[in-house]
């Protein structure tokens, strides 16, 4: 199969590689919609969609075998996304009269493009001929560049709708995406520094090294190293903000802005926006898995190393290695689904941020944290190069202690006169309610 593809001209090969990614990304959209609806309803103690896709066999038909008569097969509403899609496509497509028609029309397309283009440098398996779509030496920068284009669809939709709520949604989106881009770049830069390469395939390969440089049987996934963990948390938060998902869904905040940027959109165009959002969730999940969760490796265990160490168990360990290698796309998709489940979990748990909280989280918390993390990564790199992994981590621990002490010191001196960002609370008056005494009615003087 691979040999057959390799004989084709390079352009055709590239198209095949791109299609392999795009088809999977689009297939994941209904899966994640179904997962979201079922999981959200479960978390909110509702039933959720459970009818579409159920099979009920006839009791009277002669074609149905006897043991199936009147049986019902419940499939947990698995076909609900298809029903949703069909419904959306056959609704009336209308656009308000005063919209900027050209921009109104291309905005959904523009919002879908970066979501799909993001995945071009994500390796989904150990086969270098098939994946990623383009193994360029600027892969991580490419991801940052394309993710910064994600704002255009939302901004254009907000502007062209000629609706003040849509415009406010677009404005919020542009401010939010610019703010969180910086913290995201900082988190990614930490990973790039530990790896020493901008190539995602290289980042995955580096993560299959021994854990912390000490434990040779385990893989060094970035999320397990202290610096990588901090970067991972920052990236996860920024990722949710970049995809405009709850609790960062201020651009489409329905309690304040009706629907935000997509207020005026109907049917297919609206579906394209939603599709862009879900494809972005999938691709960002794949990026997170690649940068922090060891890429396509299933568990952080170095099977081939263990097989060398334990010749007795070499055969089963070899099988595990083979499973890890040959089912790589399955493992990556599993990780993506896990990350999508965490998105849904965050949506079900956290209330939407207020605008000033959003900005202060991005600029005052995540960006300084990311920068401090970057400095600590540099320190760790130098210390490791000088004295080996143990010295490196010791230096990291001491330095992070110093950073934390500095942080508390600064906070103590600054917080005295800083405006409070604590959540606004409503003071309830607990005095017992007094029944209002109606004023004695004026005697109505009847003029005769």
């Amino acid at each position: 199969m691979i040999d057959l593809i390799l004989q084709l001209p390079p352009v055709v090969q590239a198209v095949i590689r791109a299609l392999m990614f795009v088809i999977v990304a689009f297939t994941m959209v209904p899966v994640s919609i179904w997962l979201e609806r079922r999981l959200l309803s479960w978390m909110q103690d509702r039933i959720g969609p459970n009818r579409v896709g159920n099979i009920t066999f006839s009791t009277t038909s002669k074609r149905v075998p006897a043991f199936l008569k009147g049986k019902k097969i419940h499939l947990f509403g698995i076909l609900q996304p298809i029903a949703d899609g069909v419904k959306s496509f056959f609704k009336e497509d209308l656009a308000p009269k005063n919209v900027d028609h050209f921009l109104f029309f291309i905005a959904p397309v523009v919002s879908l493009f970066p979501a799909l283009a993001l995945g071009a440098t994500i390796p989904w398996g150990p086969w270098t001929d098939l994946t990623p779509v383009a193994d360029v030496n600027i892969g991580v920068l490419y991801i940052l560049a394309i993710s910064s284009l994600g704002v255009y669809g939302v901004v254009l939709a907000g502007y062209s709708s000629n609706n003040k709520y849509a415009l406010l949604g677009g404005l919020r989106a542009s401010a939010q995406l610019i703010s969180y881009e910086l913290a995201m770049s900082m988190a990614v830069a930490a990973v790039v520094m530990t790896t020493g390469s901008l190539r995602p395939t290289q980042i995955v390969a580096e993560q299959s090294g021994p854990l912390w440089g000490i434990a040779p049987g385990l893989q060094n996934w970035n999320i397990f190293t202290p610096t990588g963990f901090v970067a991972g948390v920052i990236f996860l938060i920024c990722m949710v903000a970049e995809t405009n998902r709850a609790p960062f869904d201020l651009p489409e905040c329905e309690s304040e802005l009706i629907g935000g940027y997509n207020t005026e959109y109907t049917t297919k165009k609206w579906v394209l926006f939603m599709m862009g959002e879900y494809v972005a969730m999938v691709t960002y999940g794949a990026i997170f898995a690649t940068l922090f969760l060891g890429g396509w490796n299933v568990v952080p265990i170095r099977w081939s190393f263990l097989a060398e160490q334990e010749p007795v168990l070499a055969t089963p360990l070899g099988w595990m290695n083979g499973l890890n290698m040959y089912l790589a796309p399955v493992w990556l998709i599993g990780k993506v689904l896990l990350i999508i489940a965490s998105y849904i979990w965050a949506r079900a748990t956290l209330p939407r941020l207020r605008y000033d909280q959003l900005m202060s989280l991005g600029w005052k918390s995540l960006l300084p944290l990311g920068t401090a993390n970057l400095i600590l990564v540099g320190l760790w790199m130098v210390a490791t190069r000088v004295g080996g992994p143990v010295v490196g981590w010791a230096a990291w621990a001491v330095a992070s202690g110093i950073v934390y002490a500095l942080y508390t010191l600064i906070k103590k001196t600054v917080s005295a006169d800083a405006p409070s960002l604590a959540p606004r609370t409503i003071r309830l008056d607990h005095s017992p309610a007094v029944k209002p005494v109606p004023e004695p009615a004026e005697p109505v003087s009847v003029a005769s």
């Binding site: 030496n137 600027i138 490419y142 560049a145 704002v151 404005l171 542009s174 610019i178």
Partner: protein, 176 residues
């Protein structure tokens, strides 16, 4: 200029470059031709994006991606943000009277075009092969050059940018 153009072999990559350059040029014309500021800004976005694609075709991926990150992803988003914040629509165009300024402006424009073109064309005509050498603009090579040969200018520029950031905060904030 000097003699006929040398025969250029038409290759797919050349066609690619020509197509990208054409779109970039059209978008650049669009920037000044549209009345609506948001359309102009979008044309500039397209122009920057095509310029980045042109860098990609010339094997200078690093500078292409930087172009997208800095200009398309950050600066133009800020442009759009400001345009939307001020809610600038298309202005009502008044039919302009035929004034001598227009003629002089056109004439000066042609002269400027001629001067710039005469300086740019000869080096461009001597190009025989399109594309930089491999690893010419790779992040490794760029980083090594920046941190060895151009260490001082690099640090000086970063300090300058830092001063700019601090200065803008000083100007924007009423009370520190």
């Amino acid at each position: 200029m000097n003699g006929a153009l040398p025969a250029i072999e038409i290759t797919p990559s050349l066609l690619m470059v020509v197509a990208l350059a054409g779109i970039a040029a059209l978008a650049a014309v669009g920037v000044i031709a549209f009345n609506n500021p948001i359309r102009s800004a979008l044309c500039l976005v397209v122009n920057f994006f095509m310029l980045a694609a042109l860098y990609f075709t010339l094997n200078a991926e690093m500078i292409g991606v930087t172009q997208v990150v800095v200009y398309t992803g950050a600066i133009m988003v800020l442009f759009l943000f400001v345009i939307m914040l001020l809610n600038l629509g298309a202005p009502i165009v008044k039919p302009e009277a035929k004034e001598p300024q227009t003629l002089v402006g056109l004439l000066l424009g042609v002269v400027l075009f001629g001067v710039v073109g005469s300086q740019l064309l000869p080096p461009l005509l001597s190009v025989v092969k399109v594309g930089a050498a491999d690893n010419y603009g790779s992040p490794e090579a760029l980083g090594r050059t920046l941190f060895t040969q151009y260490m001082f200018p690099f640090e000086a520029v970063s300090i300058l940018l830092l001063i700019g950031v601090v200065g803008s905060i000083m100007l924007a904030k009423r009370r520190i």
